[in-house]
Symmetry: none
Subunit: 142 residues, 4 copies
């Protein structure tokens, strides 16, 4: 299947609802398609200027290399120079901390990615997972 | 006033409703705050990969130089080298065709910009103006 | 409120007066608006060539991510790869050492940022705070 | 002689006084040293976000190639591809329209450059010349 805009908006709404329930700080939520291109974005009031860029970097790094941004963090802990090089090689948008998750459909096919920034990285990731599950899809965090 | 997310979403919804009524091709709608930073984005199904970047460039060029992207087109027609130079100077994101409009509040203060891509430039602009007016704000096209 | 040029100049003058009283080395002082755009700059005689870029990077990193550059340093100490990635994601201008402070108005709203370079980072920050307070505003360092 | 900060500030003040007398729109004034590095900047209230970048590009292009930005415009009219290539080659900051002037001392030595943006290019240049002359120095426009 293809990740369409209605589903992307459901993911955004689900992530924001999770954050509101949990009392998170203002989040910025970005949903990308399987090609790594922007489908939907919402930046909540109080988010700082460049939260789109950070959230995009989490999701873009994830979908570019085929793993959640938590796995990219693990690689950064082991080989910071690899992540630095990969970031440069793919054009600059790769943020290797949790909060960027892959989106799989029921068949296990990769159909997109979600990136969130604004809270702790763990909470950013929890909101991303909640959003993906609100849409009945599967999130891959690591 | 500050352009908040709810208002940005109203602008997006208003632009998309205008496009649906008019039978436009799929649009990508981007709303920026007064500083030129992303607030909300929706890319309709069927939009090509980089429509976010094109729509962002219209809005970002407009809010960076303080005029709608129709005025930037007029300048490009007269002095293509100026627009090329300005694009480089401001970091690469400036698309000088209609579809990037400034958003003013009731007092005439600049509070953001909207960029749309997907249809003819004139129709992109019409949808942007409709979206801004749906939110009770004023659009500056040129 | 919006940070206007007269206030920005007051901040610059206050920071420079603090530095002169304290016998600091030549400073470069940069004031940005809430969107991260340059309002006022002064580079004192004897400052090296690229002090504007360093001071700008402190202020721009701060206002982009919504925290003083001292907090960015703490993050860099813990996760250097995150700060490297964020720097790339936001376009290259983020210098994570003290001397970049947020400027809040009396209501607590973020209205800009100040970046200073030339002395020790701690002294750069002290001058920035002094400048902000000269203008009757509040500085956020971390 | 070297262009010091006090002289740079005199140039800024002279340019702004000229603009105020003439009823110009809000200007952004940038003064660079002989190496092309920022000495002083003031962006007047009402200037759009990226006026620093445009004004810097005028002055930086001028001092980089050793001619006022009016001469760069003449070259752009004849060989747009040369100016496009030169802009890229020098790092992106070259805006080839009037408003970027070289600053010479009494001996004819180049000591800096001034760039202004906000009004018509001719008026930007007039303000730059007025500022330079306020400081008792010579402006080269073409």
């Amino acid at each position: 299947m293809t990740l369409d805009l209605d589903t992307a908006r459901t993911i955004v709404a689900g992530a924001r609802a999770h954050a509101a329930d949990a009392g998170f700080k203002p989040l910025t939520v970005v949903v990308l398609d399987a090609g790594g291109h922007v489908l939907a974005v919402e930046r909540e009031d109080g988010s700082s200027n460049k939260r789109f860029e950070i959230a995009f970097g989490k999701a873009h790094g994830a979908v570019s290399l085929g793993m959640g941004s938590r796995a990219l963090m693990a690689r950064a802990e082991q080989q910071a120079y690899f992540i630095a090089a990969a970031t440069s090689a793919i054009g600059g948008a790769l943020v290797p901390v949790p909060g960027g998750v892959l989106v799989n459909d029921a068949s296990g096919a990769l159909i997109g990615a979600v990136g969130i920034s604004g809270e702790s990285s763990d909470n950013d990731e929890a909101a991303a997972v909640a959003g993906v599950e609100t849409a009945g899809l599967s999130a891959v965090t690591g």
